[in-house]
């Protein structure tokens, strides 16, 4: 019975040190500690164990800190230079998409006047628009985002190698 009480109080000591003891448990513990030398020792040993953890000095190497600063500066610079490229690629990609739309519109609605000006049948004028305008601009619009992805991946790999 008495042993159970000591065990319970020791659990309360642990809980108290970890910050899990309720106000009731803390109060019961305070009361018990006033009269129990064995549990007092348990509590003081526990506190000493925790305090001992402060007795280590893991000095960070100043050379390491310098190295980290340099690596961060370099990586930030790399990220800065890759960012405008991405923006430019996206802009060109959007422009190519716009060209595709305009080309498609021209093929549909301006095919007849164009065929008349060039003295060609309508189907040939439309085929020409498709081959020399719509298809290339569509390829550009699709290819550039892929390039963007590839360049972002290679930039990430470079960063990991640092």
């Amino acid at each position: 019975m008495q042993a159970d009480l000591h065990n319970e109080m020791r659990q309360n000591i642990d809980k108290s040190l970890v910050g899990e003891a309720s106000p009731e448990e803390q109060q019961a513990l305070r009361k018990h500690l006033l009269a129990c030398a064995a549990c007092q020792k348990y509590a003081s040993d526990s506190r000493l164990a925790i305090v001992s953890l402060n007795g280590f000095s893991f000095a960070a190497d100043p050379g390491l800190t310098e190295k980290v600063h340099a690596a961060l500066a370099l990586r930030a610079q790399q990220l800065q230079t890759t960012r405008p490229n991405r923006k430019r690629i996206l802009q060109v990609s959007l422009a190519a998409l716009l060209l595709t739309i305009v080309g498609s519109f021209a093929a549909l609605h301006m095919g007849n006047p164009l065929a008349a000006i060039l003295h060609l049948p309508l189907s040939q004028a439309q085929a020409g628009l498709l081959t020399f305008w719509i298809a290339p601009s569509w390829c550009f619009a699709l290819l550039l985002p892929v390039l963007l992805l590839v360049s972002a991946r290679s930039a990430n790999k470079k960063g990991q190698i640092l």
């Binding site: 040993d45 526990s46 001992s52 953890l53 007795g55 893991f58 960070a60 390491l64 990430n156």
Partner: protein
Amino acid sequence: MTVAVTTDTQRIARGLRQRDVALLHALVEQYQFRLVRYLIYLLGRRDSVDDLVQETWLHVLERGRSYNGSSRFEPWLFTIARNLTIDHLRKRRNFSLDSSDDPEQDRVPPSLVSSGPSPFELAARTEEAHRIAHTLDTLEPIYREALVLRFQEELSLQEMSAVIGVPLTTVSSRIYRGLATLRAQMEEDEHAS
């Protein structure tokens, strides 16, 4: 006080979103020592720590946008360091999560055995620290980690649970077990002397 802390974390989150290098340099100065200490406790040795520290800060720069400033910066930093450490150990030792039978050892593998004095023996600067250095060296990393996060870094149990990725009850039991091991060692030393 809470408002000040919130403002500080939001300032950090804003700086990380903008990839503010000056802020990063300041964070390195402020947290480097604690990051090194956490990694030593986690690994139980000094080698690889430098590489992991550098890798952690580069991740902070690259993935800084994922920190939203709603919680303290330290747990987020330690989570990155922990994940990188686990990846590093997996690569070095072909470590697999499935290889452990003990559910308590769910994420961090035990330290690699190394010859020579341990980082704890080298770093001990008080008599008590010398007495527990060997115990810390032989203690499972998950218990060392629990001790350093709770009593050195003063993380709350909730923050620890988020860093380690285990339930609160597991966090508590790891702290209790770590403490019990240290206490037993101190008692043993006392009897020996």
